[in-house]
Amino acid sequence: MKRITALALAFAASVASAPIAQAAWQPSKPVEFVVTSGPGGGTDTFARVVQSIIAKHKLVEQPIVVTNKGGGSGAEGFVYGKGAAGDPHKVIFGTNNEYLLPLVAKLAFKPDDLTPVAAMAMDEFLIWVNGNAEFKDAKTYLAAAKSKPEGFKMGGSQSKDTDETLTKLIEGATGTKFIYIPFKGGGEAAVQLAGAHIDSNVNNPNENIGQWKAGLVKPLCVFSPQRLPAGPKVAGDMSWGDIPTCKEQGVGIDQFQMPRTVWLAPKAPDDAVSFYADVLAKVKDTPEWKEYIERTSQTNRFLSGAELKTFIASDEEKNRKVFEKEGWVVK
């Protein structure tokens, strides 16, 4: 009898609370963070930092599990997300690969299959050379590269991905021609440059900071509209803010950044999208998030809603131009 009363009470409570639950969607079971890179990659760190901040500040009632689905340069995770249509308990973490990957490889998902939630940070790109290289600035390095077409080796992460795209943009803007060598990831490209096996790379700050601190590599310029914020000294008397922008150095590229993005499965209810956007907006205001942004020298920029859609459309357009010129687009 007691049990029946309890059940009835629980039922009554759930009925009573139902309208509220509909107004503000809440996860009703554990949430899965799907990471579209392998463990240890940039996207993986991003998702796990968000997970640890949510856990610490108890921003989501339900537990969060992180799974890595990085196969096929991240396609595995996006296809998995597409398969979970209508389930708002799967949150997919990526970069601009969500809308760029389907352009260069024939995959079972289209850019607009997933529902965009937010972009949380912009990762910067720099031109780096070996620490002992004779080049003092980007101008002299690119001039040397121009005088010797296919004489300099540019290393990067993966093929037809951000690093190679940027290399092609640099070539177009400066009239240079590099030998592009694709490695498995930015970490490998960093070590290859530290060992002077390649002449330069276009790594993100976080991928090269360890080698820069040790003086094994040095930055020449950064692809952002303004200089990075000046922080503590990183190597010698240089801080991130002392690196000139590539624009200053006469490279005709205003900006090249990679957004860190969060998505939901197709047909996610609007309530769920705004729920996660709210949670992530709270995450970005925590001291732990600021610490992560500073440590990885990314640019703190939060986009959601219509703003995010506009950004994605323009970023895709910009990259598509390069892909089409290089003949990478698959039909």
Binding site: T45, Q158, G210
Partner: protein
Amino acid sequence: MDNLISLMHGFGVAATGFHLTLMVVGVLLGILVGVLPGLGAPNGVSLLLPLTFSMDPVSAIILLTSMYWGALFGGSTTSILFNIPGEPSSVATTFDGYPMAKQGRATEALSLAFLSAGFGALAGVVLITILSTWVAKFALRFSSPEYFAVYFLAFASFVGLGGTSPFKTIVSMMLGFAFATVGMDTISGSLRLTFGFNELLSGISFLVAVIGLFGIGELILTMEEGLRFDGIHAKVSPRDVLATIQRMPRYWMTLLRSSLIGCWMGITPGGPTAASFMSYGLAKRFARNKEGFGKGRPEGVIAPETADHAAGTSAILPMLALGVPGSATAAVMMGGLMIWGLNPGPMLFIEKPDFVWGLVASMYLGNVVAVVLVLATVPFFAAILRIPFAIIGPVIVVVCFIGAYTVSSSMFDLWLALGFGVVGYVFKKLDYPVAPLVLAMVLGDKAEDAFRQSMIMSRGSLAIFWSNPLVACMTALAVALLLWPLIGMAQDRLRASRAVAPVG
């Protein structure tokens, strides 16, 4: 000398009651995930990772590395008992470990494996302690041509081992290469051999293939042969463990050679899988009596286990100093490092000496703890084999399929494992060796990437493999190893003709 002082300091950090408890917990959890194939070390470590967010970095890394050691030991257990390697690097252990278990020598095989693994690990840590500064610099000299030479060396030391027809070895190896190419290609950024299956995007998981080829293939064979394990008759007593410990020094040569191979592959960094295969290959080649390998020779267990753990341990150093993880598990730990607020790189040694040397000291302690704990489990694990096959057989099938499913939670992988099971059975029946297929599958895509990167660097000239003393030495060694069997054959023929000559 400085390093020794730092190490003593590190022991001060690591040898606290709390940290020792973490080690025991970590090792026990590790053995558990290691014994369940598919769950494996990388998954176990990433499951544990969120728990470490609130710990300080030294405690966190001690917990995670201890789990790693435990998982490595656990992986060897299933290789020996059920012919199912839990980790790619313990595949070579099955070659002689499983036959030993079938002959009722499971206790001996397990003890040998654990003791030599412990020995290898300690050799690796000693190397790290003495050469930490030099190793990091040395690893910087490695680029794509050097990587290719290392993999080539591993292949060369393994092919031409004899036993079966060389053509069958080649067929098996080529199949392995084909399986390794499935999925996204790093160099061109295109998909290969996926035939429109989304499940093949990330390639064929090595673990799924191994669970099928070894685990399920072997089960089908056992059923055909009459449903029995000889292990049933074996007596299991803790005294056998002690007897094996006493016999260990007899194999000093194998231990020493395998440790050297392991340390070399760990720092170069060819990785533990290449190390274990190479070590097994060389143990067989240098053995005075080649008979018995593959049928339960103690050296066949000692060689791969020692090298595997020596490489696994010494590979931690390049990871910390360069920020390039040598294995899937190392990648997860490196991700952890970044979340705890540490940047792997050359400066870690200078900025965070407490962390680095605390970790090194914990590697000494953690491996000793692990060896003691796993040796204590030997009688228990060996006793599993006394359970009648009619009961244990179905259990293994279930464990195999759970393992295959856990790899990426995909039903497709179950069919794949079953398919590989049939392939494994057919290979055995037709006397095709499985090992070359496995080796090619593990190292195939890495070797291919390294080769194609080298070709881009040199604009298509093979001379790049002779372009500096380091890579030239390794290429020469590999070619020599490759041609060794031919030279041996020529010698035999010469000897044979001389023996015939006096008669004629």
